[in-house]
Amino acid sequence: MLALFEDAGYIVGSYVITFAAIGGLAWRLISSGRKLGKQIPDDDKYWT
């Protein structure tokens, strides 16, 4: 039984690490995007 729980720790941990990393990355991208977006006129942004 205990072995099962240990396993679960590794498995869940892996998922948590992966999604935390992705979430963190996405968060940093969005916030730096917002910060920089305020400093550049929209005309210079090629996606607008």
Binding site: D7, I11, L25, G33, D42, T48
Partner: protein, 272 residues
């Protein structure tokens, strides 16, 4: 990262329009759509991982890790291939458009993160199945080599120089480093080793994997690929803004220096 003083853009009523103009973020309808699709696909992946997939005969519960482990290395391969293609396009087209360089850089950043994740999840999985976090077998060693090589690529991008110098230098590295991917993938075949042989990208087309698990992995691959697109789109746009600010900063510095040179030419009698 250079920044401009926001006070420059709005100090009076007429300036309010300027601020209102400079509000748009890198998010567009396209990225929002992709973002939502990504989130949905990720939810499905989790569903598959923890509800639909049953424990494996040999691997037990740890087989659930396949639903993120395979997609992460797949995204890494994809990223580095895109980096190489973008690098080549920058280097070999006449226009030498920096947009390609930024694509290469953004893609490589995402790739490095995903190789890192692959190694971490792989280590945890290895601890479960083999009892050790690391083995110096062919697949792991070459993957670690891949990781370090692209860290070198990112370091080259941070050397000082113009944007075009950055593009040229990293472009060369990007083209060379991509050759590691076939090495990693077939390392298991070249050196018979501990790590499982390729299951899905096996060129013998003999996928030896349970149906539900296979579907789950494909869902994961789709989810992570969408994530890749979203991340790269955002990152290239942020990079474009950073480059613009770099150029602006340079222009400002030059203008300041010219202004100083102009005032210095006039003699000041203040310390007489």
């Amino acid at each position: 990262m250079t920044t401009l003083d926001p006070a420059d853009t709005s100090s009076n009523d007429a300036g309010d329009d300027l601020v209102a103009e400079a509000r748009r973020t890198p998010a567009t309808k396209a990225t929002r759509t992709i973002g939502i699709l990504t989130a949905v696909a990720m939810a499905f992946t989790l569903l598959w991982a923890f509800v639909f997939t049953g424990p494996d005969v040999n691997q037990g519960e740890s087989v659930r890790l396949m639903l993120i482990h395979l997609p992460t290395i797949w995204v890494a391969y994809l990223s580095f291939t895109v980096t190489a293609l973008a690098s080549g396009t920058y280097l070999f087209t006449k226009k030498h458009s920096l947009g390609w360089d930024r694509l290469a850089g953004a893609s490589a950043e995402v790739g490095v993160i995903f190789v890192g994740l692959t190694l971490i999840v792989g280590a945890l999985w290895g601890r479960l199945t083999w009892g050790v976090f690391w083995q110096w077998d062919a697949r792991l060693t070459t993957t670690a080599l891949l990781f370090v090589t692209y860290i070198g690529y990112l370091a080259v991008r941070r050397l000082d120089g113009s944007h075009h110098q950055r593009a040229k230098r990293s472009g060369v590295i990007g083209l060379i480093a991509v050759l590691l991917i076939p090495l990693v993938h077939w390392s298991v075949r070249i050196w018979r080793s501990l790590h499982q042989e390729a299951t899905i990208l096996d060129t013998d087309l003999d996928a030896d994997i349970d149906g539900i698990l296979l579907t789950g992995v494909l869902v994961g691959v789709i989810a992570f690929s969408l994530l890749y697109v979203w991340l790269v789109l955002h990152r290239t746009r942020v990079m474009a803004m950073e480059d613009l600010l770099d150029d602006r900063g340079l222009d400002l510095a030059l203008a300041e220096r010219r202004a100083e040179a102009g005032t210095a030419a006039r003699p000041t009698g203040e310390d007489a």
